[in-house]
């Protein structure tokens, strides 16, 4: 057996067999692969650390401080959480509003998206046109769409109430009535259901034809095919839509913020007009993220707002976990190939 010259071996100990000789090479290749993977992932790693990891850790820290944004945070222990759970009278209003919105808007979003997808899947003519029409509202910027809805649903001058007036019906006060403001926002949400609808459409079109044919041969009618073929097949998409829309619901902000400000009109010359009117009318549109924004950015109590955001994170995680665990009972999982 010839030994490799020392110059070739370098600092690495001389291998005793060909198998051992290949090991350092393998290690180097593995390290190169890892380095490449790290390099390719680095934009995400940097983004995740800077824009997610760091703010998350800081939010948790700030939630235990008094922080007015202008002076250094001052440690106050659990005082923010005590105020959150015991003293802030607006928190529970905001929680109730948010839960109401999720309980009503999410099922309606899923129902409408699924219904439209089913109709589009069955349409024979003009599918492209209808698909575009139903998807189009999803492209409207949220602020513009909300302004449009506040205008259309204006109790005195809006076209909807004017039309109802011609029919002899006095229309509701919509965004000006605490009983109608949330339903009006839900209508706005359902109107812009295009994104969810497209996902449902793809899922419905993906259901294998032969399953329908087999069901038909077994004498299944339209509803039986829907219940026993379509729904199980698209159940993972339903789960996705529910989880996605619940998380969106927990973070519901822009439309509520704009609708309250515009419907309330002006109450001050300052540009913080909407801060005075957040939740208009009568706190009925005061959703949890709106209140969080108010405390953080108009009241300048970022420590308390951080405590609210930590609670929101925990609740979002808990709700998502419950849905996902519960979904095992009704989501059809395809057998691994």
């Amino acid at each position: 057996m010839r030994l490799r010259p020392a110059a070739d071996a370098g600092a690495v100990s001389v291998p005793a067999s060909p198998a051992l000789a290949r090991r350092p090479g393998k290690r180097r290749a593995a390290w190169r692969r890892r380095r490449l993977v790290l390099l390719l992932m680095s934009p995400w790693i940097v983004g995740f650390t800077v824009f997610f990891g760091y703010p998350l850790v800081m939010s948790v820290y700030l939630s235990f401080t008094h922080y007015d944004l202008l002076s250094s945070p001052r440690w106050i222990g659990t005082a923010n959480y005590r105020y959150l759970f015991h003293d802030d009278p607006q928190v529970w209003t905001a929680v109730k509003n948010t839960l109401w919105y999720i309980a009503v808007a999410v099922p309606l979003q899923v129902l409408f998206a699924f219904g439209i997808a089913l109709m589009l899947a069955r349409a024979r003519r003009g599918v492209g046109i209808f698909r575009t029409i139903f998807y189009l509202p999803a492209l409207a910027p949220p602020v513009a769409a909300t302004l449009g809805f506040v205008y259309i649903l204006n109790p005195a001058t809006g076209p909807v109430n004017v039309l109802l007036g011609h029919l002899g019906v006095q229309g509701p006060l919509w965004f000006h009535d605490p009983h109608w403001s949330k339903p009006a926002l839900v209508a706005l949400t359902v109107w812009g259901v295009g994104n969810t609808m497209v996902i449902f459409l793809a899922a419905v079109l993906d259901v294998p034809r032969h399953l329908y044919e087999s069901a038909e041969l077994d004498g299944a009618g339209v509803f039986s095919r829907l219940r026993w073929v379509t729904l199980p097949s698209i159940s993972p998409v339903i789960l996705f839509a529910v989880v996605f829309n619940v998380i969106q619901g927990l973070q519901y902000f822009t439309q509520a913020y704009v609708a309250a400000g515009v419907a309330a009109g002006q109450a001050s010359q300052a540009a913080d007009v909407t801060a005075v009117n957040l939740g208009y009318p009568q706190d009925s549109t005061l959703f949890y993220p709106v209140l969080l924004y108010q405390h953080g950015f108009t009241d300048f109590q970022m420590g308390y707002a951080s405590a609210m955001s930590v609670l929101l994170l925990v609740v979002s995680f808990a709700i998502t976990l419950v849905i996902v665990l519960n979904s095992r009972r009704w989501v059809y999982q395809a057998a691994p190939r």
Binding site: L70, Y83, N154, H176, A267, S268, A270, A271, D272, F300
Partner: protein
């Protein structure tokens, strides 16, 4: 040799010229450029007026050039100070937040500058002195003030047979009922006055002056809202007037009215016979509906306190210097000019019809007489005129009262006492949560 001499002479001459040029350039570069943030909106006559008067200042002297940026609010101010991108001079419409700015040192203390330039703070009227300091630190000065009064449509008054504006709350209530016009189905066509809190300038603190309310218990920072009889009268009177209209009918009427800062504003359009508004409306009316037949008067007051008639609510724009800037001395020169120069204050007041904020400017012969505007000058000088307390929780304090009021006005009107007790506790908890502190208006 002669050529060399000529070239040398030319070279020396050109160097001398270059040096001269250099020196004139260096003299102009000594002019300090400052940026000033203001809340007035772009496109309004108010920002244009402010810019034109600042340009006048720029032309008057050669040491400082000020650039004005409009459309600024407190959120932008705080974000800029945090990120170190604040302008050299900053102004805010929100005197409620002076606690944040002075208490944290985000706006520098102006006392040393005032002392150095021998400026007596008593030159500023009492209410403006109060809302430009916090905890004994004066980090701001007033840049014109706002006072609130009653605007009334003389044509509608004459049609209803009313000869003068109301002076007491009971007169106001009677006039509202006479002036309100409804169609056959009960829809409000013209409202005598829209009492809903949240509408235009209707916020609790601007109505509270008429009822002689006490915000805080004597000598402390605890809320007196549950025990003070003035507050209860205000809540009960406002609710009874809302119920007279019908809450739903009033909301429906209000939703059809134009935006406050547009030419469709309801008083300007004759949809309101009376309206609580700030003195600036005089300039808006002159600009948008110059032929409107209207008058101005102090707000009517509680029948039990006739001595209050003539007073009103005061707040206003504040101006200061953010911390961490290079040119504080130059910025102070500008702040001093904008807040104490009688010519500037009088001219700015003439253009945007806000109230001048020094005693000298209030007496200035440059102030153009205007019967509509003079009402507000009198309200401003009235010893009973007041402002709202500056608390540790800043603007959130009065916003909390407003949030309560908007729920109250749409409620069944039951259980006011219990509700006010809860509100008082909530206000105290809010102040404590914000670090505690605040003071009653002297």
């Amino acid at each position: 040799m002669k050529r060399v001499a000529t070239v040398s002479v030319l070279l020396v001459a050109s160097l001398a010229l270059a040096a001269c040029g250099g020196s004139s350039k260096s003299s102009s570069s000594k002019r300090v450029n400052l940026t000033l943030w203001a809340g007035w909106s772009a496109g309004t006559h108010e920002l244009k007026a402010f810019k034109s008067l600042v340009d006048e200042y720029n032309a008057k002297q050669k040491k400082i050039h000020v650039k004005v940026v409009g459309d600024i609010n407190d959120t932008k101010i705080v974000a800029a100070i945090r990120s170190g991108t604040a302008p050299d001079i900053v102004s805010s419409f929100n005197s409620y937040n002076v606690g944040n700015y002075c208490g944290t040192g985000a706006w520098i203390d102006l006392s040393p500058y005032l002392k150095k330039d021998h400026i007596d703070v008593n030159e500023f009227p009492p209410a403006t002195r109060y809302y430009t300091q916090y905890g004994g630190k004066r980090c701001a000065l007033p840049l014109l003030a706002d006072t609130y009064g009653l605007y009334y449509n003389k044509t509608l008054f004459a049609n209803a047979g009313i000869k003068r504006p109301p002076k007491t709350i009971s007169e106001l209530t009677a006039d509202v009922k006479k002036l309100t016009q409804r169609s056959s189905d009960g829809t409000i066509q013209v409202a005598g006055l829209d009492p809903l809190i949240g509408f235009y300038e209707n916020v609790p603190e601007r109505w509270s002056t008429s009822f002689n309310v006490k915000w805080l218990k004597p000598g402390g920072t605890s809320s007196d809202i549950a025990d003070d009889p003035g507050w209860r009268k205000l809540f009960e009177w406002q609710k009874s007037l809302v119920d007279w209209y019908g809450y739903g009918k009033l909301v429906r009427f209000q939703s059809g009215l134009g935006d406050e800062f547009s030419a469709s504003q309801a008083f300007e359009k004759g949809k309101l016979a009376m309206n609580l508004d700030g003195e600036w409306r005089v300039a808006f009316i002159a600009d948008e509906v110059p032929h409107l037949n209207y008058g101005t008067a102090p707000m009517p007051v509680d029948d039990a306190h006739p001595e209050l008639y003539g007073s009103g609510y005061i707040n206003g724009t504040i101006i200061g210097i953010p911390k961490g800037k290079k040119h504080n001395d130059e910025a102070w020169q500008v702040v001093k000019y904008l807040t104490t120069d009688p010519h500037f204050l009088a001219q700015f007041s003439n253009k945007i019809r806000n109230v001048p904020t020094t005693k000298a400017a209030l007496r200035s012969s440059e102030i153009q007489p205007d019967p509509h505007f003079s009402t507000f000058l009198k309200i401003f000088s009235n010893p009973h005129s007041t402002t709202s307390p500056i608390m540790a929780s800043g603007v959130a304090y009065t916003n909390f009262v407003q949030s309560f009021f908007t729920k109250w006005q749409g409620s069944n009107g039951q259980g006011l006492e219990g509700k006010l007790r809860s509100l008082a506790k909530e206000l105290d908890a809010q102040v404590k949560q914000a670090g505690g502190g605040g003071s009653a208006v002297p």
